[in-house]
């Protein structure tokens, strides 16, 4: 691959993936791409396959057809732990923090990797604690004792410890108070400024349209619509059509 290909090649490309859960066809040919440093929204009603799409990129679900590429290289066959080391961060829907581990130990799961110097570890921790001061206060508390919003912050901070090129964010504002929602919104902007790409799955349409550059809309295991967020902000007919809001 030449240098110019590398520059134009999207960071993540999903090509026509199909997945099954038992006999039910969950993803029915999903294609999308995320470029370097780009925030991309993925909208759709419940059960249309948004979370499964993220899991397929993370290697937690292996598509039976189609391919997932990271920087042009197929990754569909790799186990999730390899993909995490290659630069994919995952913040799942129910946060899934390690409840019996302390905040610090939760962060260490992503930090204790080969090739990370102690200085670098310190920098990464300090950066996370600067964004989420509450995590610094509670660093020796068990993750399960944190509030929902704090757990969400921990889940995002934990993914940041991997120094990911892209973070897959699955409904980060679900069930959070408005104050927390605006904090999550702020952290998406911070990650964006730092050049981390984000694939954002959300039910919160206004937030998604405001935070993203492009938006994909899914229905019945397929991407039905793809548009710049600005276009959807200006004309919400499509949103009405697919999401009924």
């Amino acid at each position: 691959m030449s240098a110019s290909d590398h520059a134009t090649e999207p960071l993540v490309r999903v090509e026509d993936i199909h997945t099954y859960y038992g006999k039910s066809h969950i993803l029915n040919g999903v294609s999308l791409e995320v470029r370097r440093g780009e925030v991309v929204g993925l909208l759709g009603r419940n059960g249309v396959g948004k979370s499964t799409t993220l899991k397929a990129i993370m290697g937690l679900v292996h598509p039976s057809r189609g391919s997932v590429l990271l920087e042009g290289k197929p990754i569909g066959h790799l186990p999730a732990h390899r993909l995490a080391r290659l630069g994919i961060g995952y913040v799942p829907e129910d946060r899934r923090i390690f409840r019996l581990l302390t905040v610090m130990e939760n962060l260490r799961t992503g930090l204790d990797r080969r090739g990370v110097t102690d200085t670098r570890k310190k920098e990464l921790l300090e950066r996370a604690f600067a964004y989420f001061p509450v995590l610094a206060e509670r660093r020796n508390q068990a993750g399960g004792t944190l509030s929902g919003g704090e757990q969400q912050m921990l889940a995002i901070a934990r993914a940041m410890m991997l120094e990911p090129k892209i973070i897959l964010l699955d409904e980060p504002t679900e069930g959070l108070m408005p104050r927390m929602v605006s904090q999550i919104r702020a952290i998406i902007d911070v990650l964006h400024r730092e050049g981390v790409a984000i694939l954002l799955v959300e039910q919160n349409v206004p937030l998604t349209l405001a935070a993203s550059e492009r938006v994909y809309i899914m229905e019945k295991g397929m991407v039905r619509h793809h548009a710049p967020a600005a276009a959807l902000r200006a004309d919400d007919a499509v949103i009405h059509q697919y999401l009924g809001v």
Partner: protein, 287 residues
């Protein structure tokens, strides 16, 4: 009578610490991997045999202890990679059958290789101290202390080591651990190897007291299973407490009945636990 009770208390604690060492390997493997390891007793037995061989070759008990732990840990890793890793994600019955099969193979291998006659491991020192009317061997106290030290080291490793954090994260959420870059299949192999190494260490430590033969694992693994259930499956602290509790009960019971009958007391504790508190005596009530 008071003297007898004191002696039995010490006996109970000594037996309890060894049992705790066997059981903590078993509970570690169950708690983290959801694998009920029926081959644990055979790893204990093979550890004792490797100890016998190394002791005969080198004359050093402590070297025998170290070599047996390392060799059996490596065997454990090999068993995990070849027999258990391919079953990852299948019904637990598959792994139960697999470990049961491995236990039969290992036991019959030992019978074929070493014969039916029990071997003896010479204890590293033979001093006694006076305990009332008894000459109590120092070695027994040393085994208890060493078992406690090995369990303590395991605890420190789980608490502070990078691999320890990985192991605990894997226990809680295997999928999310993978998504955080933790190489879960390797972590599981390491856990199985640690459990196997601990079984081997207890086999060597206990060898001088019981004699080494191909079926020596059976009694211990049966008791270890009782301990693991009473302590709460997968709960390390609970297993240690349960090991001491059950050993003490058996020691006291043997004041009145023969030691062979005293084991009934363990089963009574097991049955009562399953009736009253099936998640284990030493597990906090789930919220």
């Amino acid at each position: 009578m008071l003297e007898q009770i004191l002696i039995q208390t010490i006996n109970g604690i000594v037996a309890g610490m060894i049992l705790a060492l066997v059981a903590s390997g078993l509970t570690l493997i169950f708690g983290i991997m959801d694998v009920v390891n029926f081959a644990h007793g055979e790893l204990f037995m093979l550890g004792a045999y490797v100890g016998v061989i190394t002791l005969a070759a080198t004359g050093s008990f402590w070297l025998a202890l170290l070599v047996a732990s390392l060799v059996i840990a490596a065997l454990g890793a090999a068993i995990h990679v070849t027999a258990l890793r391919p079953l990852l994600g299948r019904d637990p019955l598959n792994t139960i059958l697999a470990t049961f099969g491995i236990s039969l193979v290992l036991q019959n291998y030992a019978l074929w290789q070493f014969g039916p006659v029990a071997r003896k491991i010479q204890e590293p020192f033979t001093g006694h101290f006076n305990l009332f009317y008894l000459e109590y061997p120092w070695y027994r106290l040393v085994i208890a202390a060493l078992s406690a030290a090995i369990i303590g080291a395991l605890w420190l490793f789980l608490k502070y080591g990078t691999y320890g954090v990985w192991i605990r994260a894997t226990t809680q959420d295997r999928v999310m651990a993978q998504a955080m870059g933790i190489p879960v299949p390797q972590v599981l192999t390491v856990v199985f190897a640690i459990g196997a190494g601990m079984a081997a260490a207890s086999g060597v430590l206990f060898g001088p007291l019981v004699g080494v033969n191909h079926a020596m694992g059976l009694d211990w693994v049966l008791k270890a299973f009782i301990v693991v259930v009473v302590g709460g499956m997968g709960n390390l602290g609970g297993s240690i407490a349960a090991a001491i509790l059950i050993s003490l009960i058996e020691s006291y019971a043997s004041l009145w009945v023969s030691p062979a009958q005293a084991i009934i007391a363990s089963f009574v504790v097991l049955i009562l636990t399953l009736l009253i508190r099936p998640t284990g005596l030493f597990v906090p009530t789930p919220k």
